[in-house]
Symmetry: C2
């Protein structure tokens, strides 16, 4: 077993130079004699030396680590996004630290504060708070994902929520539906609010009025979404179609429709989810791939890290309607 700790000083000693020169070789400084360089490189290889990342970070003031802050790392959507980021980071020899906000603005602040204190090179964040002025002076690069930054000019990778919702609702209208219910999270979130707006706009444009009892815009979790769905179906004049505006809701709606054998009700969901294509009928979705979003965010961040100082960009991840059956049912 090679010795426990090999320091730069050991390398320098082995090569017969000073630590400074060894450091120069390590960092690819050009002002080192060819002969010296090879001697140091030999010593590095010989001793299997690798620099101490902590010491380096302390001195340089920036760590080869990127932070990922999401609602919940256990959420399959964010897990996939994170996985993609980790892949990109690994390819560049960087490490990734993750943290979940649980949708709490305070916690978001706490986590970001901790990460900047650790001098992460950059952070990819799905914000929970609605005001990001506090990030004004941070020295690390930031990329916002899924939700926009407020009061801060940073790169962001977004989903066109408004358009996606319109696509979904238009599709249902095209199948002949007039009573289209909506299930969504609390509209205090931008994302949710925009999807709700898209839903209303598309219906308005088609000249369809929306009875408020069809708008269930406050389902925080799967069981609640399930309960609301059951409620909708018990109405005197039930909806003939449902637009579920996020994955959590979808995972509540779909099972209920099936267990109540009400698979005659059309369903379009915002966001693909596991097994959506295995149900009978398979669930039609507006797809925004987490892989793509993760890649875009990572690309953006690494682009910044390599020194680009362009103005902040807003990238919109592509959306497409995946017809699978449930959204093509007629009333």
């Amino acid at each position: 077993m090679t010795a426990r700790k090999v320091r730069l000083a050991d390398v320098a000693a082995a090569a017969g130079t000073s630590t400074k020169t060894a450091s120069r070789v390590l960092n690819g400084d050009t002002r080192v004699a060819e002969e010296t360089r090879t001697r140091v490189e030999a010593a590095i290889a010989e001793l299997d030396y690798r620099p101490d990342p902590l010491a380096r970070s302390l001195r340089k003031g920036t760590d080869e680590t990127i932070g990922v802050v999401v609602d919940s790392i256990a959420d399959p959507f964010f897990a996939t996004v994170t996985g993609e980021i980790e892949k990109a980071a690994f390819a560049r020899g960087m490490t990734v630290t993750v943290a979940s906000t649980g949708r709490s603005a305070d916690r978001e602040r706490l986590l970001l504060d901790g990460m900047t204190r650790r001098r992460v090179a950059g952070v990819i964040v799905v914000p929970a708070s609605t005001d990001h002025e506090y990030l004004r002076g941070v020295s690390c690069s930031l990329v916002f994902v899924d939700r926009e930054a407020v009061g801060l000019d940073v790169d962001s990778v977004l989903v066109d929520d408004y358009l996606g919702a319109r696509m979904a609702v238009r599709h249902l209208i095209e199948q002949g539906h007039r009573r289209i219910a909506l299930l969504s999270d609390a509209p205090v979130l931008q994302t949710t609010a925009r999807r709700l707006a898209g839903y209303r706009a598309e219906l308005a444009e088609a000249g369809i009025s929306v009875p408020e009892e069809l708008v269930q815009a406050n389902c925080p979790d799967i069981p609640d979404a399930a309960a609301r769905t059951a409620e909708l179906l018990r109405m005197a004049e039930p909806p003939t179609a449902i637009f579920s505006s996020n994955i959590r809701c979808s995972m509540g709606v779909a099972p209920v429709l099936h267990s109540l054998s009400r698979t005659d009700v059309a369903l379009v969901c915002f966001g693909d989810f596991f097994m959506a294509d295995a149900l009978q009928p398979a669930v039609t979705v507006i797809d925004h791939r987490p892989e793509v979003i993760g890649q875009l965010a990572a690309d953006r961040l690494f682009h910044r890290l390599s020194g680009a100082s362009e103005p902040a960009t807003r990238i919109e991840a592509p959306l497409h309607l995946v017809r699978r059956g449930s959204g093509e049912l007629r009333p």
Copy 2:
């Protein structure tokens, strides 16, 4: 905005002491006069000082970070495990760094090496390699999850694969099945090998011989599992029941049974998965909850970190059969 950098020296200056004394207060050293202590604490609060984690780690030789190494962070099972670990870490003010091995032993080595070099306090790892001697001398605590350590005596949190497989197969036999197919990953993995052994043992005990064509023990991914399932169903004498021994396989099998309208074939899966309860019939599973596994692993790790030096333990996460319909079909 408070000043960008507050160092311990600033606190000491404000309190009129030396950095050493300030450091003592910070680390709860008892040999500090009550009066001095309060003065320093006031200064800390006043300046909103928080110690630099990097500098501290460099000096102390151990970082307040725990590493999580899994096959893939995007896998919903591991994502949930990771989420639970992160939750536990956050509660203790520690950060979490994650990395995926992609099942590569080399990469496992690389990642663990990198983490120990970063002086993580501990690592929770789902190993990809089959020999862990190389971890013999590491200074950080380790907890293995889901697969056993080989050549190394460490805490581990496991699933009783053998028992689980027997439970699944017994259940199918009890429903009257005799031709029970198996789908699994490559049996080089311990987990897989044990489940396979359980499958064979249970059948043998029931006096049922297993035609080798029913054993599809090499499905690396979802599409492959799907293809194998279709193949099984095309056989001259097809199986009346299928035991899918891991989640990835299950996500291949279930959709195929549905899309081929062969929901008359009984199915029991090892590991719960999203929407398993929404299918018609819902999928019967042997459940081993990732939340529980994550918690157990985190508990174990933090227990070690707080200084326990008991011999290594082997914890087995509880398993239960969740009857949902697909496993109760008769031939």
